[in-house]
């Protein structure tokens, strides 16, 4: 319920929300947790394994219990911490892991079976029969245990990714962080101050302490006003410390508001900082006593935060159970606000009893009652057991510095006996320094002082001059901790003391782990699952290892901690992958002819990042095969037009350009005359084939290399490497001109006629024999023409600057259609080139040599990249699989990927003779054709081989031939 006059929420601004189907009203400034508590909702979910009713434990991002599903239309987000989720009008949330409701959950039967369900029980129990594990046991167990659920739909929410750079990143906007930021801002540093909360201030907003005579919130406002040059990032959790001063951070951009168009839900930031201050504060830890998980048992700091920040009393009669002096402030704040405090149970023998309520020094809570909400507690005090009626128990087992970021480079923290907690060591992450409570400095005045000192050191590390900054007046409360980790119960089958609320891990589980020999802290973690829930052990790590230490007779520092890994708080994959959903996965590359092809209903096929038309369907054609066969016939009998702009084009210039080409190509190019094109084969350094293509000599010392579409980037990188590594002093410059030119293949017996109809001057055939090239003019535009063919017909490729690409493509198509021709796509292109035995990367797949392809004669006498390696034994000879053509003896479908066997041999790996790389159904020759690699294949032309595709159940005899089926003499090319 609300407490009059307390809190930073605006009760005059009521906010309606819905939880588990019921409507409630909260206030501006509330979190879902504070609003539920204000409305008296105590059970907010069920526990992971035993389905125990659970209530809010904390007021921070470490919350292990109050995890809910947020529902926004189709969007359903599980495991949202109600303590972090800010309230907005119309918010809809529901509890998790329960059926039918949080207050009545059928699976709570697990709790009654709990003596059988200890850590590791299912690994031991559900072993037989073995095959039942995947099919039966695991699915059933998974359904019974667990947290939130997903909608099963695509996440259509908006997410963002961004980069930020600064001199100093201050993580945490509490007293220490504010002081560090203030010092750095005054010195002129570029500062980012990030805090996971909706408001800057940290514990200054919740502890009710004064700074410089001002209330905590007022001083925070004043401090922020004094540093206008600081970039303040609220709702931003720094989640990981990575290399070279890079930090990951998750900003909750729109999650505190009703969904709006284009407003990202979250933004994943990569922040690069020269220096960083870790002012992340500390996390209060619970004490493990019997049945310490009931709704109403909370952390003292949470009770205080709900009172001072949200104006909510978490109970009518609150009891405090603490092992330290500082927690007394919570009881005092409650009493000052008019909330009844039933008692203070102080585990310390010599603790003061001077309070305005009963104090039991040297006492412990040994039992609780109230299944759906705490009703009473049993306290052991001086040999007696006292029963206290109470509906909220505020627990403080001391504080752990929030040192996670400092450990992200695998540095291990050190144990500080004075505060009974692990503290970071200096230098665990280069450039990151802990300040305030995160460094183990407890007390407000000390934190302010620490923030100033660390801020000053950071400024000096940045090479800036510090300006004087006064530390404001504040007092330190005494901490006075005497460790208490575990209060044993009376035993019994159902008696449990919880350590990890989120994963339902109890003291008994940790002891069982030790008993079973899992004594290393990392083994204990995996055996019990302690620390593996969404809170990643923030509430339980130190207590669990204290229990483990006790069970194994070691000290806590000897026992050590588990590994801290990013992220500090859960990060949605959607935020990390922002922009990468669907087509955002990679850029789309469109041809200048794209629109014209789409208008002709051509389905697109992806070639690298390019979208290329697969075929151009005509009315009446119902399959791609029909369109493909028509297009092949069209090219063979009339003329076809195909956009080949995707092929890589590299412009090379310089007096050593020819020499460079000789070096990177297996064959010779320095002898190529201007106006001529030559086919080239490029080898990798290991002697295998890298790529093929044609290179044209445009002018003396000026060449244009083409590469295959897929290898364009690869070849460019290779050329760069060769130039820089082997011949940096040669006069050769090269640059990609792939995108500059739109290039169209015009192929078929009528190709020349078609070209002559668009060119300003008819082709001078003396200039354009087969493998000739030169400049032409097409409708007033300077173009380049290459007489090359990938189809086996008389073929040309005409290139114009890309701005004219679409216009020329449409024009060529219209004219071709008038002549009985038209466009052809990738499917037809593939069949045409298989008929002609031309290569693609299906054949040049990285494991073949020039010898395998029958191109060994292309390796010229001169030196070239890969030549030496290609001469190694084993890379040539009859044992190699060599390129051949195949045709089924009786025509039938054959497949790429099928393997080849000698007829009569058994079909098994050891008898493998090779494999098929490309197939096509040839309308020209009638029937299926294939290109394949066959052992000693060139000597086996005319033989039959057995083709077996196990995957598709194909088994047939094929006749071996040379790879060129169509026009082997090449007469058509040269027509």
């Amino acid at each position: 319920m609300r407490v009059a006059g307390k809190g930073l929420v605006d009760l005059s601004a009521p906010i309606g929300f819905r939880f588990d189907g019921r409507d409630y009203v909260g206030a501006e400034g509330d979190t879902l947790a504070s609003a539920l508590l204000a409305n008296g909702v105590r059970v907010v979910g069920r526990s992971f394994k035993y389905h125990r009713p659970r209530g809010v434990l904390t007021a921070g991002s470490e919350e292990p219990n109050a995890m809910v599903e947020m529902v926004e239309g189709d969007q359903q987000t599980p495991n949202v911490r109600a303590t972090v989720q800010e309230l907005y009008q119309g918010l809809v949330a529901r509890s998790q892991n329960r059926w039918p409701s949080a207050r009545f959950d059928v699976m709570a039967v697990n709790d009654f079976a709990s003596p059988l369900l200890g850590a590791g029980f299912y690994y031991k129990t559900f072993m037989w029969p073995r095959r039942f594990w995947e099919g039966l046991y695991e699915p059933v167990i998974r359904r019974a245990a667990g947290l939130g659920s997903l909608s099963g739909k695509h996440d259509e929410g908006e997410y963002e990714k961004a980069y930020a750079f600064c001199d100093l990143l201050v993580v945490g906007g509490g007293p220490a962080g504010l002081m560090a930021a203030l010092v750095a801002a005054k010195a002129g540093a570029d500062v980012i101050l990030a805090d996971e909360g909706a408001r800057i201030g940290g514990r200054l907003l919740t502890d009710g302490e004064t700074v410089d005579g001002l209330s905590g919130p007022d001083w925070v406002a004043q401090a922020l006003a004094a540093m206008p040059n600081v970039r303040v990032m609220t709702r931003t959790s720094v989640t990981g410390a990575y290399d070279d001063g890079t930090y990951g951070a998750l900003e909750r951009v729109g999650l505190h508001l009703a969904p709006r168009d284009h407003l990202p839900r979250e933004c994943f930031w990569r922040i690069v900082a020269k220096q960083a201050v870790m002012a992340t504060g500390a996390l209060e830890r619970p004490i493990a006593f019997p049945d310490n998980d009931r709704p109403g048992v909370m952390l003292a700091s949470g009770v205080q935060a709900y009172l001072n920040r949200y104006g909510v009393a978490t109970g009518r009669r609150v009891t405090l159970f603490a092992n330290n002096e500082a927690a007394r402030a919570v009881a005092r704040d409650l009493m000052a606000a008019g909330v009844q405090v039933a008692a203070i149970i102080d585990s310390r023998e010599g603790a003061s009893v001077a309070e305005d309520c009963p104090v039991y020094a040297g006492a412990r809570v040994v039992g609780t009652r109230g299944r759906l909400g705490l009703k009473e507690i049993t306290v052991a005090h001086k040999g007696d057991e006292i029963t206290i009626e109470t509906d909220c128990l505020a627990v403080s087992g001391g504080w752990n510095p929030t040192l996670h970021l400092a450990c992200h480079h695998n540095g291990r923290p050190v144990w500080d006996d004075g505060i009974a907690a692990f503290v970071p060591k200096p230098g665990m992450v280069p450039g990151l320094t802990a300040a305030g409570a995160a460094a183990g400095v407890f007390g407000l005045a000390a934190c302010l002082e620490s923030g100033k000192a660390v801020g000053k050191a950071a400024v000096e590390a940045l090479g800036l001059k510090t300006k004087p900054v006064k530390v404001p007046a504040a007092t330190d409360r005494a901490y006075g901790i005497e460790p208490l980790w575990h209060v044993p119960g009376k035993g019994g089958l159902w008696a449990r003391e919880w350590l990890d609320f989120a994963n339902d891990v109890t003291v008994k589980d940790v002891k069982l782990s030790a008993q079973e020999g899992f004594v290393s802290v990392e083994h204990m973690k995996r055996y019990t699952t302690q620390g593996m829930a969404p809170d990643q052990g923030k509430n339980s790590n130190v207590a669990a290892l204290a229990v483990l230490a006790d069970a194994t007779g070691r000290s806590i520092p000897e026992t050590g901690t588990t590994t801290f890994r990013p992220p500090y708080t859960p990060v949605s994959i959607a935020a990390m992958g922002a922009g990468g959903r669907g087509m955002g996965f990679a850029p789309q590359r469109f041809l200048t002819s794209h629109q014209a092809s789409v208008e002709r209903h051509a389905p697109m096929i992806e070639a690298g990042l390019w979208y290329r038309p697969s075929y151009f369907p005509k009315p009446g054609e119902t399959t791609w095969q029909q369109a493909c066969e028509r297009e092949v016939r069209m090219v063979r009998t009339h003329v076809g037009v195909c956009d080949v702009s995707t092929l890589g084009k590299i412009d090379l210039q310089g007096k050593d350009a020819g020499r460079f080409l000789d070096f990177v190509y297996a064959n010779t190019f320095s002898t190529l005359q201007p106006g001529r094109v030559r086919y080239g084969l490029m080898l990798r350094e290991d002697g295998m084939v890298l790529d093929d293509g044609t290179t044209a000599c445009l002018a003396p010392n000026h060449y244009l290399m083409t590469t295959t579409t897929a290898a364009a980037g690869l070849v460019m990188r290779h050329l760069d490497f060769v130039k820089q590594a082997f011949c940096a002093d040669w006069d050769v410059r090269f640059i990609s001109v792939t995108e500059q030119w739109a290039q169209f293949a015009v192929a078929g017996p009528l190709a020349r006629t078609l070209l002559n109809s668009v060119l300003d001057q008819p082709l001078d055939m003396a200039r354009f024999p087969f493998m000739g090239c030169g400049s032409v003019q097409v409708q007033g535009v300077q173009a380049r023409l290459f007489r090359i063919s990938f189809s086996g017909e008389e073929g040309y490729e005409i290139a114009v600057p890309a701005r004219y690409g679409e216009a020329l493509f449409r024009d060529l198509l219209a004219r071709a259609e008038t002549m009985g021709g038209g466009p052809y796509g990738m499917e037809a292109l593939n069949v045409l080139r298989i008929e002609k035995g031309f290569l693609t990367h299906a054949e040049m797949h990285g494991r073949v040599t020039a010898f395998d392809l029958g191109l060994q004669k292309m390796i010229a006498a001169k030196d070239c990249i890969g030549k030496g390696a290609s001469l190694r034994p084993g890379l040539s000879g009859p044992e190699r699989e060599q390129l051949v053509g195949l045709r089924p003896v009786q025509d039938q479908a054959i497949t790429a990927g099928a393997h080849l066997f000698t007829p009569g041999d058994t079909v098994e790996r050891v008898n493998d003779q090779g494999y098929v790389t490309s197939v096509g159904q040839s309308p020209t020759l009638g029937g299926w054709l294939a290109l394949a690699f066959l052992k000693n294949g060139r000597a086996r032309h005319g033989e039959n081989v057995r083709l077996v595709d196990h995957l598709r159940g194909i088994d047939c005899l094929c006749q071996v031939s040379g790879p060129v089926f169509h026009d082997p003499e090449g007469g058509k090319l040269r027509a």
Partner: protein
């Protein structure tokens, strides 16, 4: 006189203004890559009021804008054909889509470009990743960034930049 219709990469695309930033496609112009070094090149560039730019820089001269793009390489937004005798020159006019961002472009680019843009201003140039593609970004006037991306990727670049602008504008509406 060319009789073929010329189209820019994003022909017909209207400028987009959101949150005080305007994204637009620049008109089709001339652009040449110039690769080389030496006195002859310096002299020829001098006639255009230009020098070979230092890494990560650009400059404006009488002959156009010159932008560093790599080792011994620059792009001249202007007529580069006069340099063909003294450097390796290629026509790149149609190979790249030219976009401009006017207004507070830093916040927009900080969503897509993983480099420190604090202090990025007039006279500076970057060769940098933009989302999943590579880009040349340069600045010749205050509060304006020029971006060059591969022509074929212009649609993706536009969509990604526009998306970032939408996010920023939506943030602004709620005061973030």
């Amino acid at each position: 006189m060319p009789n073929l219709i010329a189209k820019s990469a994003l022909f017909g695309q209207a400028p987009l203004t959101l949150g005080g930033v305007t994204l637009a496609e620049a008109p089709l112009g001339e652009m040449f890559s110039v690769a080389g070094q030496g006195k002859a090149l310096d002299k020829a560039l001098g006639k255009l009021g230009l020098v070979m730019p230092a890494p990560n820089s650009c400059a404006v001269g009488t002959g156009g804008v010159i932008v560093w793009t790599g080792r011994d390489q620059a792009f001249l937004l202007g007529d580069g054909s006069t340099l063909a005798e003294v450097a390796a020159v290629t026509d790149q006019s149609d190979g790249w889509a030219h976009l401009t961002l006017e207004g507070d472009f830093v916040a927009v680019l900080a969503r897509l470009v993983p480099v420190d843009l604090r202090g990025f201003g007039v006279g500076q140039a970057l060769r940098v990743g933009l989302g999943h593609m590579q880009a040349v970004i340069f600045c010749t006037a205050a509060a304006r960034a020029d971006l060059l991306v591969f022509r074929s990727m212009a649609r993706t670049a536009w969509d990604e930049i526009a998306h970032a602008m939408q996010h920023l504008a939506a943030r602004r509406v709620v005061g973030l």
